[in-house]
């Protein structure tokens, strides 16, 4: 144990942290793309435009019904045969984000449906377009509803991204296996890898908790009555004198 803390950790932690940075890059890139894909697919499946629906239904099924590792292998090893070859990192982002997008689309779809339809009708009745209603009314509320689930997916993604070590992306786990192949110290290495994953996920879950809190209507109300109400109130007091 003594030697682990004084010798092993100082020697190999920097290398593992370099891997952790790649893991974070992968996760953020895939999450951003996954959110975009999920949102587009959810809105498409809810639209009245029927021609969109079955391809999107098929998309969601395909990406949910094949194991992620198999999807990654297909993208990295099979697609080049068809003339599409991607660098390992981007193949990983494509695989992770499409897989995540399929799941997130269902989260968004449920969240959008949970927002009382009366607000959409009210938006229409004052002449708002469907796009404006989504952007200003429905999605801000749906996003707050989906935040806990999205947070869970992000943490799962941080860990599932370790699968891309199979397609030679130099992320955290692969840095670990490279260390093992030269030192044969698998016990210490895997333990340290586990600690780094835990710390990342733990910090992420705390941050997400904070984000959830700050997105709640109550805290936004506090902010309104604090800072940016001032400008409004200045105008409002002006108008008191008006007829």
């Amino acid at each position: 144990m003594q030697r682990f803390l004084t010798d092993f950790v100082p020697t190999y932690l920097p290398d593992l942290l370099a891997g952790a940075v790649v893991t974070l890059e992968l996760s953020f890139a895939s999450m951003a793309a996954g959110l975009l894909i999920g949102l587009s697919v959810a809105i498409g499946r809810l639209s009245s435009f029927r021609a969109l629906r079955w391809p999107l239904d098929a998309f969601v099924e395909i990406w949910r019904d094949v194991p992620l590792i198999v999807q990654l292998l297909v993208i990295y090893f099979t697609l080049p045969q068809l003339g599409v070859s991607l660098p390992a990192f981007w193949a990983a982002v494509v695989g992770l984000s499409l897989n995540l997008g399929a799941y997130i689309s269902e989260v968004f779809r449920a969240a959008i449906l949970s927002i009382d339809n009366g607000q959409t009708i009210a938006g229409r009745s004052i002449g708002m377009s469907q796009m404006q209603i989504y952007r200003h009314i429905v999605l801000p509320q749906a996003f707050v509803v989906s935040l806990p689930t999205l947070g869970g997916y992000f943490i799962a993604l941080l860990k599932d991204s370790s699968l891309v070590s199979f397609i030679s992306v130099n992320e955290l786990l692969r840095h670990g296996t490279i260390i093992i192949s030269s030192t044969f110290q698998s016990m210490q290495t895997y333990f340290l890898v586990a600690v780094v994953y835990f710390v990342m996920s733990f910090v992420a879950s705390r941050l997400i908790r904070r984000l959830e809190h700050s997105m709640s209507f109550e805290s936004r109300h506090k902010r309104w009555s604090g800072a940016h109400a001032k400008a409004d109130i200045a105008v409002v007091t002006d108008t008191k004198a008006l007829p």
Binding site: Q119, S129, Q132, I233, K240, L242
Partner: protein
């Protein structure tokens, strides 16, 4: 087919609408006059709300024609259907906003942003300029101190007054009310009705679907009695309430009086 009268702002001709096999409206024709208060009464499930929702195309009729302020919104007579969509449809809706039974405020926006939603999103006005106007309208509905409150912090009556302010902020040509007091506690009803009265006194064109017979009698220029998917009778409040000749109307009013009598309802017909 009747031609629109010269001062009709909205005209429906032979409008029919079915939901599946259920015929909700059957050949309904109605003219709404500028500056008048048109009140629609009738038994539940008779098609009142559907009729109102056809005005601004929240419901698409199966046949008939609708025109608003000289613009044809819908026409399906004989072959071919013309249906205003996109910008024309949105403009028409913004000129006749609707106030709902269940308020339907935007829950993620505070009171002032709810009122500003039409001016900013639909009319593309600058926030600063629209804000003065919106504050004045909020003061007019008695909520000048509620700018930053969110809908869930307000009582039903306050929410409905915000909804009215949201409609007025569009500077509409006409306002549609779909049972605006039906979801309110009895003691909150009069506040909202007084608001609507103020608008009527200002000469605003209003169409009100309501069960408040006292209100209908006092304020309406024209009363339309809707039942079984049709307008069974239109007339002045005097013709409808004091001297009804149609059996359905007599039954309806009698039942209303009975219920009102047992509830000691302040809005009972006299």
């Amino acid at each position: 087919m009747t031609a629109p009268l010269p001062d009709a702002i909205l005209s429906l001709v032979n409008v029919s609408k079915s939901f599946g096999a259920h015929r909700v409206l059957q050949n309904v024709s109605l003219q709404v006059m500028r500056g008048q208060v048109t009140v629609i009464i009738g038994p539940s499930g008779g098609g009142k709300s559907t009729l109102l929702r056809c005005f601004n195309l929240l419901e698409t009729p199966d046949s008939g024609s609708i025109s608003f302020d000289g613009v044809e919104l819908f026409c399906a007579e004989g072959a071919g259907t013309r249906h205003a969509r996109g910008a024309i449809q949105r403009k028409a809706r913004s000129e006749m906003p609707m106030v709902f039974q269940s308020f339907n405020l935007f829950n993620n926006l505070n009171v002032i942003d709810n009122v500003l939603s039409g001016p900013i999103f639909v009319q593309k006005r600058a926030r600063r300029e629209a804000l003065e106007d919106a504050s004045r309208i909020l003061a007019r509905v008695g909520l000048h101190d509620k700018h930053g409150a969110f809908p869930h912090e307000l009582s039903g009556g306050q929410r409905q007054r915000v909804a009215i302010a949201r409609a007025l902020a569009m500077h509409p040509k006409m306002v549609l009310f779909d049972e605006p007091t039906s979801a309110l506690d009895p003691e909150l009803v009069s506040g909202v009705l007084d608001m609507i009265k103020l608008l009527a006194d200002d000469g605003m064109t209003l169409v009100v679907v309501t069960h408040e017979m006292g209100f209908a009698r006092e304020l309406a220029t024209t009363v339309a009695f809707v039942a079984d998917g049709g307008i069974l009778k239109t007339g002045t409040p005097r013709e409808i309430f004091d001297n009804p000749k149609e059996g359905r109307v007599i039954d309806f009013l009698a039942r209303f009086r009975r219920e009102a009598g047992t509830r000691h309802d302040r809005t009972a017909p006299h």
